[in-house]
Subunit: 382 residues, 2 copies
């Protein structure tokens, strides 16, 4: 396999973007990534998107987005793995460059969620239709069950859950691209509207529009496009049962654990080597489960570590310096790529007020559904 | 890049399969492919599917299908490029094996179209939502316009169009997996119900359920799994404008031409070297346009060549020996993979009554929408 680098990044702000259509969002992000690298052509495009068909009546995003970008003719394919679509798009692009088939490949993600569809119902099509959705459950309920299982098994508290939201809003307040740029207190989190007991509104990521794109090329060509290339050191992916009830322990994200181990093995690093990570906090409980699945903390201790400040900027292992899905926003197809952009900016030393000092190795973790699919990438400053 | 071979194939019958769900279809096809190769594990799965979310309320097919197959944990990703989803899934699997990252990768496709959704409306989400669908057009109308443009430019006749259907039904009558196993006459085609002038019912592929899967591995490991491996000699992909009105010549499929040229260049072969091909005859006019775009005939002469029998079994270049989309059926996500299975069976010499004598090099051409995305693969008996 050839070594692969990221040499350009671009993203839209995340939020309720009423003035921009799905295609506008993609073009904005992709153009910024091309400009960042000074690139004027592409060999291929991957578009991560969960539900363009259901949300805005548009499947077949590959050719549409290539054409809208002024790249008619370029091979362009949509990749979908629910909320891990962006991570899966990056992985497909990585293989295409690593194989030697192509040099300049754009990995992107986009979602337009605020245009009127029943978003909660659409998102539920990422759960098991026969075993779960048919009976009426949607994702807030599924993650509430994960939270209850975690509380029962490990003594995790409402204060632990609130600490995740407080931290991520504190980080997001420093991110100009974030949907919510204000801090929240633990009291505000615990007094917000109940969504699915024990999860309240401020434990939940929002409904967002947005797009993100990164440009990949062989590491040995990176200097043509970028002074500060970031190497993709490893890509790990795994799956688990779709239905929560089919898993051995609903409070343990086994696909995340397996994807993480695969990435750590491939990258020849361990959790202690990671300087900064972006993880999939679609709900506050998700961040705690992910920290444990990736062995950033021991099983059952992620809540305590969060309350102790270990995962905040300046802490032992800063998590979600971008604000995470909770504060930055969660346009589901774009999320996995936006996570990568935060890590690239950290490893370039260009994260401004969110900068983690001397960050050399970073990690992204993106997952679909209630964790049935998981993608982990490890990046390195070169 | 490593050389890659196909060492196992499996597909369901295509048709109105009321007793099988989306997941049943996938498991049936994938199990057959694994059994064909004698393989008991996988390194990765790609699932081609256009619209599971809209058709049966199920996105996120990667992990669902891995788990249903008994392969929980295995990386598994859905790839979508409308009716070219199967071809795009094969291409992604090809890159993953070629890169050296994985050895045993399943490329599959599945679609369940007969369960009650507005299929014509769902399929239309593969066209340009803003420029075409919003104004009320669907695919029969788009292909009718392509047909009218081809007739006006090249003198193509209604008899030419009927000859495609007659030939493909003749082939399909020999295929036990085909949805329609009966022959039709030109008179029957031209007397069938008008769908979108000049296209009649028997010019149109049907609404189908079905799945198909092929197992890839490095060529140097192929003998472990298969006595008659088939090498993937080339993969070419291209895009064009989504909206027909944005193309220079609506009667010329420029993405197909470009994808074909890329595959011919990569495979170091030309159209005259192809012994048998499966092409995307979603409507009769599509097969004629594809034959011209791939240079199997001169521009404007595909209708004449079809009426002269050049593309029938025993002719100069047999096209759609499986029966094609018209007669075999067209479960849109599965089609691109089923095309590959027909070519593999031809190159193995296992196509029975449909066998093309001494077939050594075969080609598949799969496209999405009105030709906005196109994937061409070339295969070789080794």
């Amino acid at each position: 396999m050839r070594d692969v680098a990221i040499v350009g990044v671009g993203m839209t702000p995340f939020g309720e973007l009423w003035e921009s259509s799905l295609r506008d969002l993609f073009v904005d992000a992709a153009s910024l990534a091309l400009r960042d690298a000074g690139a004027d052509h592409l060999d291929a495009i991957y578009v991560g998107n969960m539900a363009g068909g259901q949300l805005v009546g548009q499947e077949h995003l590959g050719p549409l987005m290539a054409d809208q970008l002024g790249m008619r003719g370029v091979p362009s394919t949509r990749v979908e793995s629910a909320c891990a679509s962006g991570g899966a798009a990056l992985r497909a692009a990585f293989f295409e460059v690593a194989s030697g088939a192509s040099d300049l490949v754009l990995a992107s993600g986009v979602e337009k969620m605020n245009d009127g569809a029943d978003v909660t119902g659409v998102l539920a099509t990422a759960a098991d239709q026969e075993a779960e959705v048919y009976h009426g459950i949607t994702f807030p309920g599924l993650y509430a069950m994960i939270a209850r299982a975690h509380m029962a098994a490990h003594g995790t508290t409402l204060e632990d859950l609130a600490a995740v939201s407080v931290k991520n809003h504190r980080h997001g307040a420093l991110n100009p691209k974030a949907q919510f740029k204000q801090e929240v207190t633990a009291e505000q989190v615990m007094a917000s509207s109940m969504v699915a007991d024990p999860l309240r509104l401020l434990h939940c990521s929002p409904v967002s529009d947005g797009a993100a794109a990164v440009l990949l090329c062989p590491l040995d060509r990176a200097a043509e496009f970028c002074d500060k290339p970031v190497k993709i050191r490893a890509s790990g992916m795994a799956t688990s049962a779709m239905a929560l009830a089919d898993r051995h322990d609903p409070a343990f994200l086994d696909a995340v654990h397996l994807a993480g181990n695969r990435a750590f093995d491939m990258g020849k690093v361990g959790p202690r080597d990671i300087d900064v990570a972006e993880v999939h906090d679609c709900f506050a409980i998700a961040e705690l489960c992910v920290l444990e699945a990736l062995c950033f903390t021991e099983r059952g201790l992620a809540g305590e570590a969060t309350r102790a400040g270990e995962t905040t900027l300046g802490g032992r292992i800063p998590i979600n310096t971008s604000g995470g899905l909770k504060s930055k926003g969660h346009p589901v197809g774009a999320t996995g790529v936006a996570q990568v952009i935060e890590i690239v900016e950290q490893l370039r030393g260009e994260a401004g007020a969110r900068q983690v000092k001397d960050a050399v190795v970073g990690l992204t973790q993106n997952m679909g559904g209630s964790g049935a699919s998981a993608v982990v990438h490890i990046f390195e400053r070169v």
